[in-house]
Amino acid sequence: MSIETGGYGALVIVIVMTLVTLATRWGGVFVMSFVPISYRVQQFISAMSGSVLVALLAPLALNGDNGARLALLATALTMLMVKKPLLAITMGIVTAAVYRYLFP
């Protein structure tokens, strides 16, 4: 089911996102009050929450211009070296800006 993003559409999308997120905030506590969450389910959930980010990023890295690719590379390298998210994101943005300025 598709929905237009203009007008009331955006409102519907915000409501859907709110309900889904609320379910994740309450769900863990709710389920635990009946039955403990098994180790296998925990492993599935934590693997899935990393994988969804990979799945979002893979096409972005593949289809982006070189500025975009270098930006992602700069972010990853900075994050690996200093573990500061804000600095890593800044490095990525600056890299894209500089590359696009030099090679428009």
Binding site: I45, S46, S51, V52, T95
Partner: protein
């Protein structure tokens, strides 16, 4: 139930305020992330009210950035809902790990506290609880800090976002991608995690090429999750 144990989960005005104040320094960074989201949402074409509403009610940065990534003239609700669920599924684990302390609260307070659960206040209060210190005020008060600064940052971002003429030349189209990547790389990394990421990447690209639009996120998330359930970490 001993006295010490019952104090651990006490929730009153003074310890909520103490928790609120304790997370103010960290929340300066939250303002900047909020600003980045407001900026990204404005570039994506969201109106100011929807953007503020999203930060206020959803209050989950990575999933909000992901929604911008899927945004278009039209958006399919099911893939969007599943993507948001997959990104925010870690809240399920946060709730489960806090349950030993939350179970002492009456249900209304228990679920009220969980309204503002997010990575920072969860990690800090779980650490305190595990040391046998009271942390319910930190969990709830700190959550309120993070939430209010997130909304404020978003508002700032909308304000500045409207002033910027050519965001792409400034690299600002990469805010979302770089944010999500930094979240990913900041997590745990070992052979198992790399295998999971590789499977998720391959599955999502195959879906991207051969399946309907936007299904790649769901396919990649499920493929990685299933591998994680089969190849489990050795327990504790």
């Amino acid at each position: 139930m001993s006295d010490i144990d019952s104090n651990l989960h006490e929730l009153n005005r003074s310890n909520i305020w103490a928790g609120f104040v304790q997370l103010v320094p960290l929340s300066i960074f939250v303002i900047i992330f909020g600003l980045a989201f407001g900026l990204a949402a404005t570039q994506t074409g969201l109106d100011a009210w929807s953007t503020i509403a999203m930060s206020t009610f959803v209050f989950a940065g990575a999933s909000q950035f992901a929604a911008m990534e899927l945004w278009g003239q039209e958006i399919s609700l099911l893939p969007l809902a599943i993507t948001v669920f997959a990104i925010n599924a870690r809240h399920l684990l946060m709730g489960a790990t806090l349950y030993p302390w939350l179970r002492h609260l009456p249900p209304s307070k228990r679920y009220g506290v969980m309204l503002v659960i997010t990575d920072a206040n969860w990690a800090m209060s779980l650490q305190k609880f595990s040391r046998g210190e009271p942390a319910m005020g930190l969990l709830f008060g700190g959550g309120l800090t993070l939430w209010s600064f997130w909304v404020f940052g978003t508002w700032l971002g909308i304000y500045f976002g409207n002033a910027i003429q050519d965001p792409v030349s400034l690299g600002l189209d990469m805010v979302m991608g770089c944010f999500l990547l930094a979240m990913l790389v900041g997590g745990k990394k070992d052979t198992r995690v790399f295998a999971i990421w590789s499977v998720a990447a391959i599955a999502s690209l195959l879906a991207y090429w051969f399946l309907p639009a936007n299904s790649h996120v769901v396919v990649g998330a499920l493929a990685g999750g299933i591998l994680g359930a089969i190849w489990m970490e050795s327990e504790r």
